[in-house]
Each structure stands twice: as structure tokens, then as C-alpha cells.
Symmetry: C2
């Protein structure tokens, strides 16, 4: 486990800040700062339009897809990077529905990140074919899978509570009923071992600005099961998913395999930054990372509960059922989080009453966990949160 | 006109390079290089997740939309930045079709950039409602507008020839027949004056990596006519287009006005770079820029035709019918362009036989135009293009 302590130096972690964001935005990898500079000043500047070839910009979506693929158990050539997670959810679901044309139910749960549900609803309304977006409680998903379901569309780790779905069991059940399985790995990729091949997942999507540390607005990724991808008709049939983008044919022909899930011109600077950020995972055994993550989260729960009775654990107590985050409920969660941030301890608030903390073994330490737990105890016990400057809501937290 | 010569210093233009790319990628503005560094090192690094508020990241899509709006005759609050142009085309067309539910024809032309046609086809195939994508010759568009047309979807400036559509006349004709007008401004924004309000355009989209110099993979923009936007149901209903993104409601409610055309988390680094790039347009009168652009392109045509009989003008001879680019045809256009690039003169090749040159008064000079014209004359007259290294095709040009 001690191997992780040396990786902390790979990141810019400001003095006085304990960063337990859970995880909305990973910290800046030092290599990413240099890569951003180099991409702009050493590539765009001197190479101009020739950078698409000479600097390998055009290949970044596939290259990055393969690098992320290694962290999520996806074989080479099955994952590609681009767009935002919302767009990738849309692509996956649109594809799944066409592969199950006779079915009319998309099954999701109330723990899914809202944008997944919004994008699904938007797609179903556009289609106007009587599809239903069925949203059940997370615990009720398995029982709701039946022959009417075209696809289950779930986020593996609940963004609020950290509750972990059993991806393998739910995918198996979906397949047993002829449904496809779409997994959102937003809070999974880089946070815990994922085995898309072992789970036989059909589609997976995720973002790269959380545990992968790709920076604000870093692009998303999409995986399609290799034996399924050539049956996929891309709904978002952009030119860079074309078999021959630079032939400028008037008719669309999908590219081979996962390339067809590319859409428009990739955001090269963000992609280069992500490429550098992924270096922090080189040589990391995700099983080791998971073990260390559990150590940190178990320590956190124990110390918070010892320091403070007025918060309630919102995450599963069994670490096997949790992602790499821990959430507590407090009726004044917003103000409690603001008070923590004022002390330099950064987590997230998620409406209505959740304070959320993420644990990233690449840079978080046991000392940080203790500091955060002690601060929560003091802030709640003394009512330190009850100040106007902490209670006034800002647009984004 | 001389005012433009001082702006050249705002850009990084490598020694020995004459950059007449037409225009696939604008050059690096010096301010953009510094802004990329600052966004990463001074914002993401120290501010971490709080950057969304403290550094104004969340507001960039609207702020940049308004800055671009000023260049295209769009009122404040009617334009927003995000995603890729392909995605924005899809959004605009999906919206237009729902506003004209009884109509089944999307009218475009063979001079449209292929990805617009691909995205349209992908959307129509998803809908499965018997829509037709009717692609006519550019000259035949006006006559093809009738009561069956839900929307015309056109690129104002033909990416190959530079031929300029009459946006006002075609929009008027579309409206007279009850159709909506969607304009792609990829080769217009920052290249010539555009008056979306005066043309009464319904939707407009564009990219920012061409004449706006936003960098490789810079985000796209979308404009919706202000009196239409509140009728738009976003097909790509992502969380950042929601009326209250951070309430995390399970149900989607579109945001006010143009905000509903936002989708996912914006690419902050690319957006910050674009913001800096747009500074080069501060104080520019687009009518002056257009006049200077025409001077440069008229000079280019005259000098190329004087130097060389074996190329054919592919662009309209009347500058009033041309964008800010000039194209010539040569049967070995690919090799001719490679030979030019080997001499440090950078334009684009577009299949099957077009060599394309763009003229950007912000940095291009009359001397550069003469140098390029003379080089074309020599390369074609001496057969300098006829070498294996120039004839071998690369993936991207």
C-alpha cells in the first residue's frame, strides 16, 4: 500500500487544503500542466493544421480509449473518448433501443445521475414510439427486469450515497431476459476495479474529470462490447465516425468497430491533458488501489462516528457495497460543507442533505482522513456551520 | 485597413510559414497560450472544484456565446457555446422538426459539409417517421423550397469552393413557405459580417477553431431566434440545460432561453482558450475586415491566374458571392498542396481536386498572398508536385 504515498507528489495539492472531493473534479496532475503548455505552444503554435497528423491529435480518441480501457477491463479497440458523458449516454441508449426494436422499456433507478435520466427522456420523447423510462428504487432494479425491458441503464456507483450496484449480477439478469445493459462508470473508472469483459456489459460510459483527473470538462468515454459494435447504427453519425472522414462522401458509412462512436472534432487540448493525467495510473494495480481506498473510507467512517452523533451514514456500511466515497446526511448539510470548505477541507454537498467525501489513494493520506473527521465533529458539535456566510447558497458547490 | 497589420503581432506565426489555411484551424493567438497556462496552473490547480464558481467556469458557455453573438448579429442571450458542431447541428435540426411536426422534408445541398448531412440522416433514421433528407445542388435550393419542407439546413459558405449562399433571401423564402432556416456558419463566423437578426434566421450553428482561432477541437456554438427558443424542446436534454442543474431533480425542466441548448459539462480549458482568442476581434469592424479580405482574395486570384494556366478557379469570381477563401482545381491538387506545404505555404486539399486558401485579415498580408501565388505558378509550371513524397496520401491534410 505504501506505494501510493510516492504518487502524491505527482499532483498539485495546494497548501492548507485537504481534498476529499467526492469526486467532482480530480486535482491537477503536474504532468498535465506541462502537457497543456506543450500542446498549445509546441504543437498548435508551430505545427498549425499539420498537428492533426504530426502531433497525433486525430488518434487521441482511440489512444485514450485504450488507456482507459485497461482500467475498466475493456479489451483494446473497444473504448473511445469524446464529447460529454451526457452525449455518450444518449449514444449508448439510442444504439441499444435499435438493437431491441420490439421492446419499449428503459429501466433505470432513482440513484442514477439525473443527466442520464434527462438524456434518456429526451431521446424517448424524440422517438415518440411509446417507450417508457421506468425509474425504480436502486434495490428494486433486479426484480423489475423482465421481457419488456430493452435496456437497463444504471450508474454503478450512486453519486450521492456511493452505493455500488452488482454489475455482473444485474447484467446477467438483463441478458437472461433478453435486455441489454448500459453502465455509467462516472464514479467507478479509476476509483475501483471494473471488469467490463467479465461482467459481459454491452455498453459503458463515463467521464474522466473525476477519479481519472482529466481536468474541468475533460471528455467522456464510451465502450461497446466488441461482438456487438458492428451491429450498432450510430444515431449521432458525425464525420469522425465515418469509415473515411476525409473522403467527404455525401453518404454516411460507419467506421469499423468503436470508431463509429466518434462524432465531431475532438477537443485536442483537453484530450492531451487527460493523456498526461492518465500517467498517474501507470503501474497501479487496481486491486491494491481498492484495498487502500477501503482502508481510508473505513477509517473515515469510524472516526466521524466517534467524533459526532448528529450525522447519519448515507453510504452502505459494508465496504463491498460502496464505491470510493462516503456520504453522511445532516439536515444542514449545505452549511456544514461550507464550514468545512472554510477550514480548507473540501468535499461536496449534494441536495438535499448529503455531504460527500471521496478517497483517492493516489494522493489522499490517513492524516487527511483524520483531519477531516475531526473537523466534521467540531463543526457539528459547536454549531460552527450556523453562520450566514455558510447558509447562503451559491449556484454550484 | 492598415489597422489590421498591427493585429498580426497578436498571433504566433512560425518563421518561414505562410499560413493560408482555408480555414481548418486558425493560428495560435499569443493570449491563448497564456490563458491555457493560467486556466490549468492558476485556476484548476489551486481552486480545484471551487473553480466552477470562483473562476467563472460555469458561465463560460453563455459568456462566449455572447462574445460570438456580437460577430454574427445575434442579440445578447441568444447564443451558447458547447459540444462539437456535429452535435449542435443535431440539436438544431431535432428542434426544428418538432416545431414543424406535420412536415417531412429537410432540404440541404451538396455543398454542405458532409457531417451536417450525416448528422441529419442519423437523426431522421432514428426518428423513423418517414422524413426525407433532400440534397440538391446549391443553385437549386431556392426552387426546391415548398410547403413540404420542415427546415432548410445549409452552410452559408461552401467549404470547398467558398460559394456564399444568400442567407437573407433563402431564409425569407423558407419562411414564406412556413419552413424554418438552420444556418451553419462554420466558414462565416469571424470571416465576414453575418447578421442573423437582419436575416431572421431561426437557428445557427458554427465551430470556433477556424476563423475564430479557438484551437484544435475548440467547442461549437448554437444560436436560436429569441422569440422561438422558449418553444424548443431540447432533444439532447442534458443536466446543464436544466432549469436548476444542481437541484438534481429526477425530471427534466428546460432552462430559460438559450441555456436549454447546453448539454453536459463544458470543456473549460478549451473554452478559456477560445475566450482569449476572441480578444483578437475586440474593436474589429467586420465590414472593414470583409473589405480587406476581398482585397486579399482578389489579389490572389489575379496573381495565380497570371502565374499559371493549369489551375481553374473553383470559387465564384464575384467576391460578393464568395466567403473569405479561394479555391482552385488542379487534377493533381493533392500533390500540388503537398509541394506548397513543403515550401512552407499552408493551404488545404479537399477531395477530389481542390486546393483551398483562406484569407484572414487579422494576420495575413499582401506579401504572403504574392508569395503563395508565385509558388503555385512555379510548382504547377515546373511539375514540382510530381514527386513520390508529394503524391503519397496521408490520413489527414
Amino acid at each position: 500500500m505504501s506505494g501510493f504515498t510516492t504518487r502524491r507528489a505527482l499532483f498539485v495539492l495546494p497548501d492548507g487544503i485537504t481534498y476529499l472531493d467526492g469526486n467532482s473534479l480530480g486535482p491537477l496532475p503536474r504532468a498535465a500542466a506541462e502537457r497543456a503548455r506543450a500542446t498549445v505552444a509546441d504543437e498548435w503554435g508551430p505545427l498549425l493544421i499539420t498537428g492533426w497528423n504530426k502531433a497525433g491529435w486525430m488518434d487521441l480518441p482511440r489512444k485514450l480509449g485504450d488507456r482507459i480501457g485497461k482500467l475498466i477491463g475493456a479489451p483494446e479497440g473497444s473504448t473511445v473518448v469524446g464529447d460529454t458523458l451526457s452525449i455518450k449516454v444518449y449514444q449508448a441508449l439510442a444504439s441499444a433501443l435499435e438493437l431491441r426494436p420490439e421492446r419499449r422499456v428503459v429501466l433505470s433507478d432513482s440513484g442514477n445521475f439525473p443527466t442520464d435520466l434527462y438524456m434518456a427522456k429526451g431521446l424517448l420523447d424524440s422517438l415518440g414510439k411509446g417507450h417508457e423510462l421506468k425509474v425504480v428504487d436502486p434495490e428494486a432494479v433486479a426484480d423489475a427486469i423482465d421481457e419488456s425491458v430493452a435496456a437497463i441503464m444504471l450508474t454503478q456507483v450512486d453519486y450521492r450515497t456511493g452505493r455500488l450496484h452488482d454489475m455482473k449480477a444485474l447484467t446477467e439478469k438483463a441478458h437472461a431476459h433478453g435486455a441489454l445493459a448500459i453502465w455509467d462508470l462516472a464514479h467507478s473508472a479509476g476509483a475501483l476495479p471494473v471488469d467490463l469483459t467479465g461482467c459481459d456489459a454491452d455498453f459503458a460510459v463515463g467521464c474522466t474529470y473525476k477519479y481519472l483527473n482529466g481536468g474541468p470538462g475533460a471528455p467522456a468515454f464510451i465502450f461497446v462490447r466488441p461482438d456487438l459494435v458492428d451491429q450498432v447504427r450510430p444515431a449521432l453519425s458525425g464525420w469522425l465516425g465515418h469509415a473515411a472522414p476525409f473522403a467527404f462522401d455525401l453518404d454516411y458509412r460507419p467506421g469499423d468497430g468503436i470508431s463509429r462512436m466518434r462524432v465531431g472534432t475532438p477537443p485536442v487540448i483537453q484530450m492531451a491533458v487527460l493523456d498526461a493525467a492518465l500517467d498517474a495510473f501507470e503501474g497501479v494495480d487496481m486491486a491494491d488501489l481498492r484495498a487502500r481506498s477501503i482502508e481510508l473510507s473505513e477509517q473515515f467512517i469510524a472516526e466521524v462516528e466517534a467524533a459526532c452523533r448528529d450525522v447519519t451514514l448515507a453510504s452502505p456500511r459494508d465496504p463491498a457495497h460502496r464505491g470510493s466515497q462516503v456520504s453522511f446526511r445532516h439536515p444542514e448539510g449545505y452549511a456544514v460543507m461550507q464550514a468545512l470548505i472554510a477550514r480548507g477541507i473540501i468535499g461536496d454537498f449534494r441536495a438535499p442533505d448529503i455531504i460527500r467525501f471521496g478517497f483517492c489513494p493516489l494522493y489522499n493520506t490517513a492524516e487527511e482522513v483524520s483531519r477531516a473527521a475531526a473537523a466534521i465533529g467540531e463543526i457539528v458539535a459547536t454549531g460552527e456551520w450556523d453562520r450566514p456566510e455558510f447558509r447562503t447558497r451559491k449556484a454550484v458547490t
